[in-house]
Amino acid sequence: MSTQLKVDVRGLSCPEPVIRVKKAIEANPGEPLTVLCDSFVSAENIRRLSGSLGYNCETTENNDEFVLTITKKV
């Protein structure tokens, strides 16, 4: 089974999604992370955070929710 990190930030107010994603990235440096999110603002903020920490962030939208896949930039 592949190792997978997931963070669910659905329904959380600013800036909690960013705090949780940041904590997850810092606790597991370099590892890919999947974030489940349901707000445009949080998705934007997490994308910006990923970039500033040296990670790529790909977004797919699924039934009004976003799945953000965060991977370390090579």
Partner: protein, 362 residues
């Protein structure tokens, strides 16, 4: 690109914030969420302070501008359930703090750009309040998750904004308009409304937020939102200089007092309260327009807080802060600290290796 947008949005807010003064709004109060909601509370007869009664069309504009923008961009989503009652009371506490300083964080920035140094003292208090709020956030403070709600809930605030607009335009006998004092100073209705719509649009698109700018800087060293605030100050400063409104100093500033301690504490309460909520009062109005019913509860709390502030003599004036006001703002601060401890759970697990997601949340 994003940075350019938020800077432009700030420039627009700063520009309109002074232009509305030129068109008739009170000095250094082209836009102020706390003052305008207080005026609406008076206009609806929820308090008895005669100088501050008017249904400010800007407030309807912010909500409707955000609503229309969110609908057109597909971002309108009805949601709620993240401690709505607590958000109502936090809204009240924020209003009590704001009326101690005499202004919301946006008016603080506009006052600063007009040379009012009392706002600088307020700013230090504001950042201090946010700093305290950030410490709680770091330890796991959360008001809980919101959930999707039936869409009709999300239309309630835009409809309320529309009703307020109809009231101010038709001016029926049962609403109250000041004949003197700050609320007697007002820009023409359509200009106020149009400016409000523009600001609602800009803030919805760029997420401009006076609390977020300092919070993100303290929490994750992200200066993104700060560019919005810089934009407001830059545009408002240029406009104030151009119109001759700029006056540097502490004394005789319009709709302001010089009591530094209470300016500090008032805005510290606003900073702490707004950090609890996730955004400044303007941002809460905009969120309430895009379907966030939790933010709508906050707005109603701001309205109730304004009524309490004026009915019980808590609100400050140019003469300073009353003893009742001092007690009121300290109670508001104590309440926000209690909320902080009550809603901080440090055992939130955000990750689990091996596929399954496992999470404990408030």
């Amino acid at each position: 690109m994003d940075r350019k947008k938020i800077l432009l949005s700030g420039l627009l807010v700063g520009f309109l914030g002074v232009l509305l003064v030129y068109f008739g709004n009170p000095a250094n109060m082209g836009v102020c969420i706390a003052c305008f909601i207080r005026d609406i509370a008076g206009g609806l007869g929820l308090h008895r302070a005669e100088p501050v009664r008017y249904i400010r069309p800007e407030i309807s504009g912010f909500i409707l501008g955000a609503f229309l923008t969110a609908v057109l961009t597909g971002e309108f989503r009805t949601r709620g359930g993240s401690s709505p009652l607590m958000r109502f009371f936090i809204g009240m506490a924020i209003m009590i703090g704001a009326l101690t300083f005499l202004g919301c964080p946006l008016r603080m920035v506009l006052r600063l750009a007009a040379g009012d140094l009392n706002a600088l003292v307020g700013l230090v208090g504001f950042v201090f309040g946010i700093f305290i709020g950030v410490q709680f956030l770091k330890k796991g403070f959360s008001l809980g998750r919101s959930h999707r709600l039936p869409a009709a809930n999300g239309f309630a605030m835009p409809v309320l904004a529309l009703v307020l607009l109809i009231l101010v335009m038709s001016a029926p006998a049962f609403i109250f308009f000041s004949e003197s004092g700050p609320a007697a100073a007002r820009a023409p209705i359509l200009i106020s409304l149009f400016a409000g719509l523009l600001i609602g649009f800009a803030v919805q698109r760029t997420r401009l937020c006076q609390v977020g700018c300092f919070r993100d800087l303290l929490l994750i060293k992200d200066p993104h939102l700060l560019f919005g605030t810089i934009g407001i100050i830059a545009a408002a400063l240029i406009m104030n200089l151009a119109f001759g409104y700029f006056k540097l100093g502490f004394v005789d500033q319009p709709v302001a007092h010089t009591d530094g301690v209470w300016n500090f504490i008032g805005l510290a309460v606003v900073g702490l309260g707004a950090t609890r909520l996730g955004g400044c009062p303007l941002r809460q109005l905009v969120l309430s327009g895009e379907g966030d019913t939790d933010a709508a509860f906050t707005v109603l709390g701001l309205l109730a807080g304004a009524a309490v502030s004026h009915n019980f003599g808590l609100a400050a004036s140019a003469n300073g802060v009353t003893p009742a006001g001092q007690a009121g703002v300290l109670i508001a601060a104590a309440f926000l600290l209690v909320v902080g401890f009550a809603f901080t759970k440090s055992n939130i697990s955000v990750k689990q290796k091996g596929g399954a997601t496992h999470e404990h949340t408030a």
